[in-house]
Symmetry: C2
Subunit: 253 residues, 2 copies
């Protein structure tokens, strides 16, 4: 707490010197998406939307609850916040929003449960956010992966998905981290950039919408310090989760 | 589930006959606020925002968590959804958002815990949503209240609040119900209208912003049936909670 207050004070000092500029999310998105596919996914009636990923997506959802559209099933993170907005705004669309993120997952663990937790649900829109554990668990000695494994596993997963669900609209979310906040130190770099670049290239290759979360979090730090947006550099606070939800929705409609 | 599908089918049939008209929340608010104070509460730097009320406000918050700005402390309802949006949008404001709603509360129960759960927190913006249990618990025989008790208790609570916190900005939320959905049957009416009218008059009298939730839920049923917005006629679904959050924010800024 004291640490956080200090950070805030230092931040405010810096911000006062540098001048606080508000940059809107649509501006960030259009800037960041230039090099990407930059296509939107129009929502259709009866669409099934599935969020997949690791703990950032999981966000404490109740895994006994196999339903959709409720905060119990969606957790307390960006899938729930994005879902809430879509369900309210497009109330007449009869949307079904699922979250099947599982804490700790790397790409190969998505693959292990893909039949049940993705293909069987027949999503019309599939959003994936994966990659932080692929490097983090390597840095802390729990995992032996490389960026090549990440890329190859990810591409194989998407090929399998496209084969089973040829019409699915893909949203690839950029794995992100906030350097200097707790878990995220110099050891992550430059290697983590290669994971992010892979996600972006895979999005291009598969015609997916790319959500540039790193850019979003970088820009957000002009408004408030890193630990306002994420408690440990990886997991977003409520404010950070709303930032993600807004960016995600801007990529959809 | 089957029941819900039937409702949806009937609704869609009716909607197809009647024509689906999208009405935006700002339009609803400006229409509904004409007879009310219709003033906004500008947010200031370092503002403390407090949500007070019953289970609709409580929304499963972790009562061991006395902090602010987290989904654990804010629950899974409109205070968390409104809080998430404010914390993201006004990131440089250093806002603190608290939720101290308690399931089952009527006005006199707010009064019993007001020192700790309101005055001691010194909110700059105080939002109250109370009234459904004041009639519901009477209808199911758990409580002996009347609309006069509701009104008198509510006014006494606000007088006490204004005395302790002369500068506090008040937001009075209209108690609401969705007739025809489970718990809410003909026995609620016309008596419930008198509770709603009291809340509105009290808002006028105390110079509070009034959030016309009944109107919001009535209009929302042009988009999707009542059970899309509330599971039992009283407690909102995630979509209903987002509807409330959006209306609440429109009343603030």
């Amino acid at each position: 707490m004291e640490n956080s207050n200090n950070n805030r004070r230092n931040f405010i000092k810096k911000a006062a010197l540098g001048g606080l500029m508000a940059v809107s999310i649509p501006e960030i998105l259009s800037a960041a998406m230039v090099s990407s596919v930059h296509k939107k996914n129009p929502l259709n009636r009866n669409d099934i939307i599935l969020f997949q990923g690791d703990s950032i997506t999981d966000s404490g959802r109740n895994k006994e609850d196999n339903s959709f559209n409720s905060s119990s099933a969606l957790g307390s993170g960006y899938p729930m916040l994005a879902g809430a907005k879509l369900l309210q705004k497009y109330a007449s669309h009869n949307l079904k929003v699922f979250n099947k993120g599982v804490s700790g997952n790397k790409v190969y663990q998505l693959a292990e449960r893909w039949e049940t937790d993705c293909l069987g649900l027949k999503p019309d829109i599939l959003s994936i956010l994966i990659g932080v554990n692929d490097i983090w668990h390597k840095l802390n000695g729990q995992y032996n992966g490389t960026v090549e494994i990440y890329r190859n596993d990810y591409m194989a997963l998407l090929e399998r998905t496209k084969k089973a669900l040829p019409k699915v609209k893909l949203i690839i979310c950029e794995p992100f981290a906030v350097p200097g906040v707790k878990a995220v130190d110099g050891k992550w770099y430059p290697e983590f950039y290669a994971y992010q670049e892979s996600a972006r290239k895979i999005a291009d290759q598969f015609g997916a919408t790319f959500i540039p979360f790193q850019k979003i979090f970088d820009e957000a730090q002009k408004q408030a310090p890193g630990d306002y947006w994420t408690g440990d550099g990886v997991h977003p606070t409520l404010a950070g989760a709303q930032l993600m939800a807004q960016a995600w929705i801007a990529g959809v409609k």
